[in-house]
Subunit: 336 residues, 4 copies
């Protein structure tokens, strides 16, 4: 239950109420205080004296609360650069590209130049890699972040990079323009809570074994921490089909668009796991009216230290990129 | 292994070879005879004398053989009406619509009129319904087929209708212009073999628990029976996510496009299970460059005797339909 | 809703009621007539005049009705031989074994002798094989059934054999002592309805993509056809884990034991797909207190024409079989 | 590839080799040094000079290396108390019980008394709870650990408690006798690496969306960190079946027993999600010959702050516990 207090109700009173209901308290857009209790609290369990302090009481029927369209009917807008937003009424689809991992200055510089050449604003690259084996390349770690920092200054790009576990959450939060929470870290409360305190956009990837309820509840951890800039990213779920790496869940994206007030980015590269399917899936994603697209590219995918099969060459990416504007336009969107 | 015999090799000799390898024999486009052995037969197990009779030996590495791009590199073309094909180089996306079930003459006539009004050529409707409960509406059965026959004459539409089990396979094969094999009947050999002998297009739906290998092997049953007019239909697979009815597997569609020579139709209605997601998913499907789209519509979905939640109203369908041409055009396709 | 009519209510009246509610009518144990309506019919939609004719009205809350413990609180008992039953209060676990397919008289005779030697009463073997590829061995078909008939007379064994599609349902129903409905045929109404009219036990395998609701509803087709001798068989569901062929769903078996009144048999061979896991899984199954176990054995698994990896050798089976009695005894059951 | 160096090869030389192959180095049982390279390294890529320093080179064919039966053919033995081990040849099945969460001193003391009464050696209880919602009870955190510490002294029990994210890994490693890594933290490298340095047994739960390869590779992170005391815990995977909370993967347990040298514990409570199924599943687990069983009990499950549906009452647990010895004995194991 979300209790939106009337303007003027004091913070002390709000804190008393939130203690009583084991609830979370936070500030709202309009200067009003908001109290969020467990979704299980029934309307008739709310004391009449509290109700009288409320401007509005929202019952969402589950712990999807601040992210629910029942709370905010319109999609949240998130600022990416000074003159660019996604979500809201922008009808923008932001294309983000770059390699799976930062591997070397030469490699990441080549990717940055590709972005500049095409007018792409946000570069992706991982410094900490959530590899499933201890015997694989694990990322350049802090050196990777420093390289990304240099690239940012040199090329004027925004950087999105991933946090995979709590040990480097602070470092990633400091260095990134958009903090990416990796699929395998989706349930990590220490990361979610740290991002809740950050004042930067957070792109939260859906765990491949996570249902939509859990996915959006992970976003609630960030939202109720006070950070409203949360972007959801669908990147494929694990199913019985193993001819492809994962199964991109566009039915799930439809559900999110209908029920959740957060912008949505789609990552076809990890879902498919093979470069050949990425162009078609990217166009499918754009045709759904989404807020962003995350595509892996590499100057030489065959030599990549992680995910070699799914990264596009620069030529493949340019060809794909050239086709997206028309698809976006067909549904009233713009590629940005 | 596919052994394409040289022109002039006699049928008697071909039969002898097919007996030796427990293989299937069939006629090819070019008048050549083709022998298909188990995919497990290794190249070095083929007798030299047989090889000398072969124009070409194709090793596909699995029992996806006649359907493989290794056998036919280009996509097969299938005739829908005298002046309309899908697949091949047509770049056509065929829109098929109609109700889940034929319920009454009035209802199906309304749907046919919608098709005529919009220029849609193929009407879908089920006479035999594969309901999972014995206590639900099971379809009008033969009376439903007869109604569809009447509608065909009255409106000049092509009819696609579903066979759900062997007891009525002959009836459906006789009445339908395009025979639909339902998802729950995908493994039914008696239906697959009967369709292999038919001389009509067959739309084979993927079982929701079937992987891509099994799905295409089911098509092989029809192809090796001598019917080359097979269309594959992705309609959602069953996954852990249950906020939507099924999960539309567009990664799987990418795999099929890359590896299989059959046209592909997508059914977003069954995948999603809810009308609200059908428009976005339809546009996503069209943007992938597919050969057809199967969408459920009903004059009054709330009163439908089956699948009420997922059928579009006529107004919803018209609005959706109006947006598809632009999406198709953006990728060089046409809605037909 | 199940309406158990008072003794003496006429069949004509019952038929009138069943017409009104689009319901199914059948005879009960105690000579009473039973009407089964859709599970969606609400209690307040039942006319008062009908209620007065009812001895009992059972609301199960879904279309699991005749199979529900809400209808029959105790487990049904099914006769296997003149002096042997399973289910009810028998505390019997019936071991069934034999090869995947009947391949030759020599092979099936060897299996029959193994049964006789160990005191096993029921031999399994498939004559019609639901292979997923048209280029694999498809079974001996009617000749296989005739061989099984001969074996039955020669060795005094009961025979369980599988129907995979409608084309041979009548033949299997005629030849089998226990009719097995294969996992891929679980939704086949023509088979289910034919079995509903049969007067023999039916072992219904769960489709590997089928949830428990659909599984038990398939049994309802048989039960409401008038055949009360239905046995459910869990044989593994399809999940993302592919190091094993399927995933044996023993949580599902717990749910069935709690909610459904039908005996349950477990098939660890198909679930695991590899012989090495069958002994442990068999003991696990027995320790759950189930009504039967279906295990594949073959005189020479490596040479088997189907499922070579999962069939046990006779020695492996004997060793396993020798351990089952103690496990059964530990929980108060007997191996029969 | 595992390179077991000859006795006497110096650490300096070993380090040089491990640098060359981007490998991990560690000490072995027998005082020999072991180098573990990526599983992708092919045998012919190993320099002859290195091979000559090797006592043994083990190729496991994947990154399951130190955990593989190809490296150690027998199951590892792990000490639980001074006079109790599991694994190895002990044929012991360790029963662990306790509540989902430490909620209060009274509650946890009651559980400890139950353990003492039944002779159970290890108490489970979570202080940090990986809840999926921010609006639910999150555990007593450090106070919970302190309570468990007190209970340990007062009752002489060993304590197993869970780490859910990196922020409290050190605290749990310090307080626990057996460190439990929660299913949602299975991929967390910071936790895995911290546990690799610990000198205490670690119980690693399988992520519910994780396949067996990833599960065992997570254990490799701990093993290659130098901690050999790793126990695997199967607790159910997420599948399409949602009548139960998860699906207990006993086929997967069979695979692990065959291929992996680590002891295995089964947690039926989380798999089932409902108390009614726990007794049957516990007996099934014991009958497989496993090394431990993890069962949730609570003095008053209905009032539990987390997982109320799946915790057993003390009476239910006692009844279950009383039946386990016979099942274990039937297969030559003992309940400890």
């Amino acid at each position: 239950m979300i209790i939106e207090l009337k303007r003027g109700v004091s913070r002390v009173l709000a804190e008393a109420i939130s203690l009583k209901y084991a609830a979370v308290i936070l500030n709202n857009y309009n200067g009003r205080l908001i109290i969020v209790t467990s979704g299980k609290l029934k309307e008739n369990e709310l004391d009449e004296s509290v109700r009288q302090l409320a401007e509005r009481v929202v019952i969402t029927g589950s712990d999807i609360q601040l992210a629910s369209r029942k709370f905010l009917t319109s999609k949240r807008e998130i600022r990416i650069t000074d003159d660019l937003t996604i979500g809201g009424n922008s009808q923008n689809t932001l294309v983000i590209t770059g390699p799976c991992s930062v591997e070397s200055e030469k490699q990441i510089r080549a990717c940055a130049e590709l972005c500049v050449q095409l007018g792409i604003k946000v570069l992706r690259a991982g410094a900490y890699k959530p590899r499933t084996s201890p015997y694989s390349f694990q990322g350049l770690e802090i050196k990777g972040l420093q390289l990304l920092d240099k690239i940012r200054s040199d090329y004027g790009l925004k950087i999105i990079t991933e946090v995979k576990d709590g040990s480097h959450a602070e470092a990633v939060i400091e260095y990134a323009d958009i903090i990416q929470i990796g699929a395998k870290a989706m349930y990590d409360h220490s990361i979610l809570r740290a991002c809740g305190k950050a004042r930067k956009p957070v792109l939260l990837k859906r765990g491949f074994g996570s249902n939509l309820q859990e996915f959006v509840q992970a976003a609630e951890f960030i939202l109720c921490g006070g950070n409203e800039q949360v972007i959801l990213c669908e990147r494929g779920i694990r199913t019985f089909e193993n001819f492809t790496r994962f199964t991109l869940d566009l039915c799930g994206v439809s559900w999110l668009k209908e029920n959740v007030n957060l912008p949505i980015v789609i990552d076809p590269s990890h879902a498919m796991g093979f470069a050949y399917g990425v162009p078609d899936l990217s166009r499918a994603a754009v045709a759904m009216g989404i807020d962003g697209l995350l595509i892996e590219t590499h100057p030489n995918p065959a030599a990549a230290l992680s995910d070699p099969a799914q990264q596009l060459t620069f030529d493949q990416f340019k060809e794909l990129y050239g086709t997206l504007a028309d698809v976006a336009k067909a549904i009233g969107y713009k590629i940005v």
